[in-house]
């Protein structure tokens, strides 16, 4: 038995993400896995070429362990997730640049209770950047 070690990220559909944990701890053929996950067999074979766990027997037939495959699908999902970034004080998300930027010329307006509104400019594109902030006594205020 041999295993393919070529690894790279694949685009996994939501349907597969939901169905993959239901795979059983047994050896499947590619066609069976494709039927169970409701994907074309060619797509599955493409995933195998991109590092999905599988093995071959003496007759060169491909066998896929259901649990290992489910774990691989889960890894693919986690690999595609962008790392969470907590906005620091003075930072905001520019919708035009589609990125986190340091707000320039920030102006804070109280909205209600502890909620305030920070409005400023993006240093890259000059567009308006808005951000809601809590606690009027926070560092955001002093920077505004």
């Amino acid at each position: 038995m041999s295993e393919n070690q070529n690894t790279s990220n694949c685009r996994i559909s939501r349907n597969v993400l939901i169905k993959a944990p239901g795979l059983l701890p047994m050896l499947y053929t590619p066609r069976e896995i494709a039927e169970d996950l409701d994907v074309p067999e060619t797509t599955l074979r493409d995933w195998l070429n991109h590092g999905a766990p599988h093995s071959r027997d003496e007759s060169n037939h491909i066998w896929i362990d259901g649990k290992q495959f489910a774990a691989w699908v889960d890894n693919q999902r986690n690999a595609r997730k962008k790392p969470a970034h907590q906005l620091q004080s003075g930072e905001g998300f520019c919708m035009r640049c589609n990125a986190i930027v340091k707000i320039q010329d920030g102006e804070i307006r109280p909205v209600k209770g502890r909620l305030s509104h920070l409005k400023g400019k993006c240093p890259n594109c000059g567009g308006i950047v808005n951000r809601g902030i809590w606690n009027a006594g926070s560092t955001e205020l002093s920077q505004g």
Binding site: G22, L24, P25, L27, E32
Partner: protein, 118 residues
């Protein structure tokens, strides 16, 4: 590792249910989930000797009850398993000759809290 022959029989049963009994896609999907419990219960042993397993199907399913499986769902799983055993005994009479009809009919009685002597 689970027995592949058991898995293939379950797949055949689902195909038969869809094409002969005309069960809907949703029903087939539900049946498939119910029969996964059966496959896990059998493990690497053939279903032809299910009557001789150390742990009964009821015990196996009651372990899952604690994990959030309600009584109605348990009843549905047992009904599906009963239908499967009746079908598989009819389709593979030699392989399942040691499984008796009386044993199959007792599968659904398990959900009523009755102890089944196999």
């Amino acid at each position: 590792m689970l027995d592949r022959q058991n898995y293939l029989k379950v797949k055949l049963f689902l195909k038969y249910s869809r094409e002969v009994h005309g069960r809907s896609v949703l029903q087939i999907s539900t049946d498939c989930e119910h029969l996964k419990a059966l496959l896990l219960w059998a493990g690497s042993q053939p279903l032809g000797s299910a009557h001789a397993f150390n742990t009964s199907l009821s015990d196996f399913l009651f372990q899952n009850v604690e994990k959030g499986l309600d009584q109605a769902e348990l009843q549905n799983i047992l009904n599906t398993n009963e239908r499967f055993f009746l079908w598989v005994k009819a389709m593979f009479p030699v392989e399942f000759q040691s499984i008796r009809l009386s044993w199959i009919m007792k599968i659904t009685a398990i959900s009523k809290g009755k102890e089944v002597i196999i």
